[in-house]
Amino acid sequence: MKVLLRNPRREVEVPGPTTVGALLAHLDCNPESVLVIVGDELVTHDAVLADDASVEIRPVISGGAGDIARGTPA
């Protein structure tokens, strides 16, 4: 299957079928840090991904300016 990864954006081929959980383990992705999307739909960790699936592993961590509401005297 084709797997889209981000930051940096790249595509890798992974043999299927396999479960979402196994795919994340194979790619060493922490399931707390990503969503797995097939087409436009979210899939859960027990879902089975076919060999011809197009899968996006989308990171959910963002971290720029930290706390913009901390109320510090400017």
Partner: protein
């Protein structure tokens, strides 16, 4: 996996809650978490004019969407940071969302309105850009709310953001920052009320909300944030969370319930007076934003 509520097919599993949800009941879960946050800290009053700090990312757009769903009159404010294509794309996402939902989005552009960009400020101060970014956003959101009659500024800080900030504050025993870290900061002379209605929801939940509700957001990370400490704290906390689901929530909620008060009692009171240039309260001769602006704009005369 089946939805905890209706036993239909689940679209997301939340190990922290030991629960799976379908689309409909996941959205209801997010609404309920925001309701609980607002109620617990009396963040918003009926009839408040609400200003949402909008970046074009998942958290701020999900927050805006949830507040409107819950019946609040909320406008958005986007601050243009001048980070090349990233800022342009982020504004595009914010504008598209506002147009689709028929909401009012205001825009303040640092370069146009204040004469400098975040990359220029970072270069001039030789410090990490995230510092200049956070300082500029704090100033602009606060100023805009005060100048335009908004009762409260809502920011999209989620559970992961707050837990990471708490970890950083604890690692450095930054007592002033620990005292200030709270989901609801009341209004004070020169400061608008600031609240964080998403503090009970994780980053993964916010991204899932956007995917499910078809909210297009800026997925790519800010090119200037790569490698910063805040991201390292989040990765460390997620490593803990993987082994022990609920760790992040226990860390943050425990702090708020049992420890925050210890850091706010008896601290020294700093005398503040209005910045002579912009009026923002400051303990110094000039506020930090105006100092940053002076350093970022080369003196030519």
């Amino acid at each position: 996996m089946k939805c905890r509520v209706c036993r239909g097919p689940a679209v997301i599993d939340l190990r922290r809650h030991n629960a799976n949800f379908c689309h409909e009941h996941f959205v209801a879960h997010c609404e309920e978490q925001v309701r609980r946050a607002v109620r617990h800290f009396a963040m918003l009053e009926p009839g408040d004019r609400v200003l949402v700090a909008v970046s074009g990312g998942k958290d701020s757009l999900a927050l805006w969407d949830l507040l409107v769903r819950l019946g609040y009159a909320a406008d958005g404010l986007y601050v243009g940071l001048g980070i090349d294509r990233y800022s342009d794309e982020s504004l595009g996402h914010a504008r598209a969302f506002a147009t689709r939902r028929q909401l009012d989005l205001h825009v303040v552009d640092l370069a146009t309105d204040h004469g400098f960009t975040v990359p220029e400020a970072a270069a001039a101060t030789r410090r990490a850009p995230c510092g200049a970014c956070g300082l500029s956003k704090r100033h602009v959101f606060n100023r805009y709310a005060l100048d335009h009659g908004y009762d409260v500024v809502c920011t999209g800080h989620n559970l992961d953001d707050e837990a990471a900030v708490l970890l950083g504050n604890v690692l450095h025993w930054d007592l002033d920052s620990l005292a200030r870290q709270h989901p609801a900061l009341p209004a004070a002379p020169g400061f608008a009320r600031k609240v964080k209605p998403l503090y009970r929801l994780g980053e993964r939940e916010m991204a899932a909300y956007c995917v499910l509700e078809r909210i297009d957001y800026q997925v790519d990370e800010c090119p200037m944030a790569a490698g910063n400490r805040h991201l390292a704290y989040k990765e460390s906390l997620n490593a803990l969370e993987l082994r022990s689901p609920g760790s992040k929530a226990a860390f943050l909620f425990g702090y708020l319930e049992r420890a925050h008060g210890s850091f706010t009692r008896g601290g020294p009171t700093v005398a503040l007076h209005p910045c002579p240039r912009c009026g923002t309260p400051t303990p110094g001769d000039e506020c930090a934003f105006c100092r940053l602006q002076h350093r970022a704009i080369p003196v030519t005369s």
